[in-house]
Symmetry: C2
C-alpha cells in the first residue's frame, strides 16, 4: 500500500497561531510533534515509510521536508508550483506512484492536519477499506455524526453492502442546521472526513471518465526523470477539488465507517473540545494567570496572559498578534484572516519568527534604514552563499560558534565577536558545530526586504 | 498659594499598562501628556510654577523630574527614600514650604493621577476653598456621589456653613453597597477626592495635636541646606495616611463641593467610562481589528489585537503581558498584580521598555550568557560614565550619531558602525546631536543585571 499526505492548507482557521506561511499541519498542538509528523507516524503502522508521499505547495515545501526528515530519511515531498485544489494533486500523485512502483498499488489519501489518537482502530478501518479498494472501488471513510454540524460535507449511503462497507448514493454540500438534523435522524448520512483510498488505476480511470481535463494532461509530466512538477504544465490544470471532479460523479464509490476518534481541528473551538480541561473547564497553555474564568481556552506562546472572570472565551497570544474571541464565534477567525490579507497586513502571512530549513529568524526591531534580527542556525546547517545589492549586515555572535565565509575568507567567531558584511560582498553563515548558533544581525540600507538576495550555492536547493 | 503634587502610586490598578516602576501618573492616557503633567498644568492656572512642589518615591524620582522638566525649568521634586504613606510626606512638605517661603502660605494638595478636564471650574472651587483655609481650616474637596460607589471613602458634613463650604462631621471608610445607598439618600455625604488645602501653620499645628509622632520629628530635617530627605530620619516616621493621622481626628475640617468633573481612573472600568465610544460602545486604542464586539475596551500598545464577539470585556496588550478581563471585575486586576509580586515575576515591576532620564531601553532578547537591548538616547542626553565588572558590551548604531567615550578616547559612530567595550573599561554613550540616537547593545557575560554598574559621572545625579 502507498500513502499520500495532502499537506497544503491556508492557515486561516487557527490564526494567529497558524499563518499562511506556517499553516496548521506544521504546528505542535498539545504534542511534541506537529500534526503533519503525527499523520506520517500514523500511516507507518500499515504503510512502509518509503511508500509515504507528501504533496504540498511550494511555499511550505522546505518546512514539510524539514519536519518529515526528522522522522524518515529522504522523505518524498512533491511540490505544487501553484495552488490548484485537490484533484490535480491527487491525479499527479496517482500517476507518480504508478510510475515509481511500476505496479498498481492501493493508495491511501489523508489530510495532514487532522487529529486521530487511536491508531489501531484507524489502521483496522483502513485495512477493511483496502479489501473494497481491491475490488475496484474508491473507498471514502465516513464519520458517524455525533451532532448536526453545519461545517462539514455529508455522504449519503445506500443499503448495498460491499464487504464491510456500503455503496455511496451521493455527496452533499455543507447543510444548514435543519437539514443537518434531518441527515442525522435519517441515519444513512456520514461526515466526509477527506480520507479515501483507491487502486492507482481505478482513480486514473475514473479521472478519464469524470474529468478528462485533468487526465488528458497527465502524460505531460515525466516522473521517470525528475520529481519536479513544472509550473508551465501544472498551470494548465483546472483548479478543482477531488470531490467535485470525481467523487460526486463516479458510480464506483463505497464508504467505510471510520472506527477511530477523529477531529479536523478546524477551529479554536475544536482545539478546546479535544483538550484536557481543569475543574473550571479551562484549557491553559503557556504562561497564564487566571482569576475565576470558566470554560475558556487561554493559549500563550511567549508572554504572560492574565485573565479575569472570562466565560466561554478563547484568548490566543503570539509574538505579533493576539486573538480574543467568544467560543461560539471561532469560525469568524477566518474573517479576520481575510481582512488582514485584503489590507496587505503581513500578520496573516508570517509570524515574527520565520522558520527556514536551517533554523529560524525573529525580527526584533525595525526602523528608518535598519532592521535587526535574531538568527538561530541549527547544528550542521548553513545558510546559502549569498550577497545583497541594497544592504550591509553586521553580525554579533550570542551563543555557539559561527563559521563565516566572507569574500572567500573563513572567519570563526565566538560569542561577543562581530563581523561587518558590506553591500555586494559574497558571504555565508554556517554552523558546522554541535551546539545551536545564535547571532544578532543588524541590516542597514535603503531597501531592507527578504527578496534582496543573490544566491550562489545552497544546501537546500534554493539557488 | 503653593501646590503639592503627591506622585507616589504603586501601579497596580491599571496593570499591565502601569507597573510598580511606571505607575499610572506617568502614563499618557488619551492625551499627549501624562496624568502627572496634566496635574501640574492644571495647578498653574492659579499657582505660580515655581510654587508647585512634587513629592514622590525614590523609585519614580527620575521619571517624575524628567516629565516635569518638559513643562517647567528645574521643577522641585522631593524624594521619599522609602514609602511611608501620605501623612509624613505632607508633614515634610508643609515644613519645607514654610522654610522656603519664609511665610505661612496656603498649600493645595492634589493626587497626581486623577483626571479633571474642566480647569476653570476646578480653579474656581479651589479659590473658594482658599478663603476657608485662610480662616484656619483644613479644607477637603468632596465629590457629590452620582451612584453608590463602594470603592471610595465618604465624608459626612454638618449643616454648619463656613463661607461656601460646610463643616465636616466625620470621615467614613469605604462602605458596602447598602450603606453607600443610605449615604446617597441622606444627602450629607460626599466622596473623598483626596484633594485638600490648608495654611502650613494650621497643618503643622493639627499634626502636633493629632499625631505628635510625626510632628516631633520634623525638626530633624534641615531644608535650609538641602532638599534631600535623609533615609535614616525618614525611616523613624510612622507609616500612616493623612486621613488617619489628621483628618479623622481634627475638628478643624471643612468641605467644599468640587464643581468640576473628576475621575480617579482607579480601574480599567473607569478608563472605559471616561473614553469616547463608537456606535457599538467600544473603545479602541491602537491596532485593533474587531468583528461584532460590544461595550468593550480594546487597548493595544504595539501588536495587532483581533477581537470577535466580545461583550463587556477589557483587553489590554503590552509588550510583555496581556490582560483579558470582564468589565465588572477590573478591581481584581490588583489581585493579579499582587500574585505576580508574590511570585517575584518582574511583570508587575517593569515594562520590557524601561524609561530613563536620557531616553529608554527595550530588552529584545535574552539567553544563556547574553542580553540584547535597543537603546534610545534623546537629543542632548548622555548616559553616565560607567564600567561593568561582569559583562562586555558591543554597540551597533542604528539611527543618528553616537559619541562614545572609551577609556578616555572619543569615537564618533554613524549608522552601521560598531564598537566593543570590554569588562571594566570606562565608557559613556552620548548623543550631543539634534536627532534621536538608536543603538543595539549586545551584552555578554556571566552576570547580566542592571546593578552591575559602577558610575563615575552622571548628569542626572545618580553617582
Amino acid at each position: 500500500m502507498y500513502g499520500l499526505i495532502l499537506a497544503g492548507g491556508s492557515g486561516s482557521r487557527l490564526w494567529p497561531l497558524s499563518r499562511e506561511l506556517y499553516p496548521k499541519q506544521l504546528l505542535n498542538i498539545q504534542n511534541t510533534e506537529s500534526l503533519l509528523q503525527s499523520t506520517f507516524e500514523r500511516l507507518t503502522d500499515i504503510i512502509p515509510q518509503k511508500n509515504i508521499i507528501s504533496m504540498t505547495g511550494v511555499k511550505h515545501f522546505s518546512n514539510v521536508k524539514y519536519q518529515l526528515s526528522k522522522i524518515t530519511e529522504n522523505p518524498v515531498v512533491l511540490s505544487e508550483p501553484i495552488s490548484k485544489n485537490t484533484a490535480p494533486a491527487i491525479a499527479l500523485a496517482a500517476q507518480y506512484i504508478s510510475i515509481k512502483s511500476n505496479n498498481d498499488p492501493v493508495i491511501l489519501v489523508v489530510p495532514s492536519d487532522h487529529m486521530i489518537k487511536d491508531i489501531k482502530a484507524f489502521s483496522k478501518t483502513v485495512l477493511e477499506g483496502e479489501k473494497i479498494a481491491n475490488q475496484g472501488y474508491i473507498v471514502t471513510f465516513g464519520i458517524k455524526p455525533s451532532y448536526p454540524e453545519t461545517g462539514y460535507g455529508y455522504i449519503n449511503v445506500t443499503k448495498l453492502k460491499i464487504e464491510n462497507g456500503l455503496k455511496v448514493n451521493k455527496f452533499v454540500e455543507k447543510p444548514n442546521e435543519e437539514l443537518a438534523k434531518k441527515y442525522i435522524a435519517d441515519g444513512d448520512y456520514y461526515w466526509n472526513s477527506g480520507i479515501f483510498m483507491f487502486k492507482a488505476s481505478v482513480m486514473l480511470n475514473e479521472l478519464k471518465k469524470c474529468c478528462n481535463d485533468i487526465y488528458s494532461l497527465l502524460n505531460n509530466f515525466d516522473f521517470t526523470k525528475s520529481d519536479e512538477i513544472p509550473y508551465i504544465e501544472f498551470d494548465k490544470m483546472p483548479s478543482i477539488s477531488i470531490d467535485y471532479a470525481v467523487m460526486e460523479k463516479s458510480d464506483k464509490i463505497a464508504l467505510v465507517k471510520l472506527e477511530s476518534d477523529w477531529n479536523d481541528l478546524g477551529s479554536w473551538k475544536s482545539i478546546y473540545d479535544v483538550s484536557t480541561k481543569d475543574t473550571d473547564g479551562n484549557v491553559k497553555v503557556g504562561h497564564i494567570l487566571d482569576e475565576g474564568s470558566k470554560n475558556s481556552l487561554m493559549y500563550s506562546s511567549s508572554k504572560l496572559v492574565a485573565t479575569i472572570g472570562l466565560e466561554d472565551t478563547v484568548i490566543v497570544e503570539t509574538e505579533d498578534a493576539i486573538l480574543a474571541c467568544k467560543s461560539d464565534r471561532t469560525q469568524d477567525v477566518k474573517k479576520i484572516f481575510d481582512t488582514l490579507k485584503k489590507q496587505n497586513d503581513n500578520t496573516h502571512l508570517v509570524h515574527k519568527t520565520v522558520y527556514r530549513p536551517w533554523g529560524y529568524y525573529t525580527v526584533l526591531a525595525e526602523g528608518k534604514g535598519f532592521l535587526t534580527k535574531m538568527i538561530q542556525v541549527n547544528p550542521g546547517q548553513k545558510l546559502s552563499v549569498q550577497s545583497h545589492n541594497h544592504r550591509s549586515e553586521h553580525w554579533v555572535v550570542l551563543e555557539g560558534m559561527a563559521k563565516v565565509l566572507l569574500e572567500g575568507k573563513e572567519h570563526i567567531l565566538s560569542p561577543g565577536h562581530s563581523i561587518d558584511i558590506d553591500i555586494k560582498e559574497i558571504h555565508s553563515l554556517q554552523n558546522p558545530y554541535e551546539d545551536v548558533l545564535k547571532i544578532i544581525e543588524v541590516q542597514k540600507g535603503d531597501l531592507l526586504i527578504e527578496e534582496d538576495i543573490v544566491r550562489y550555492e545552497d544546501m537546500y536547493g534554493r539557488v
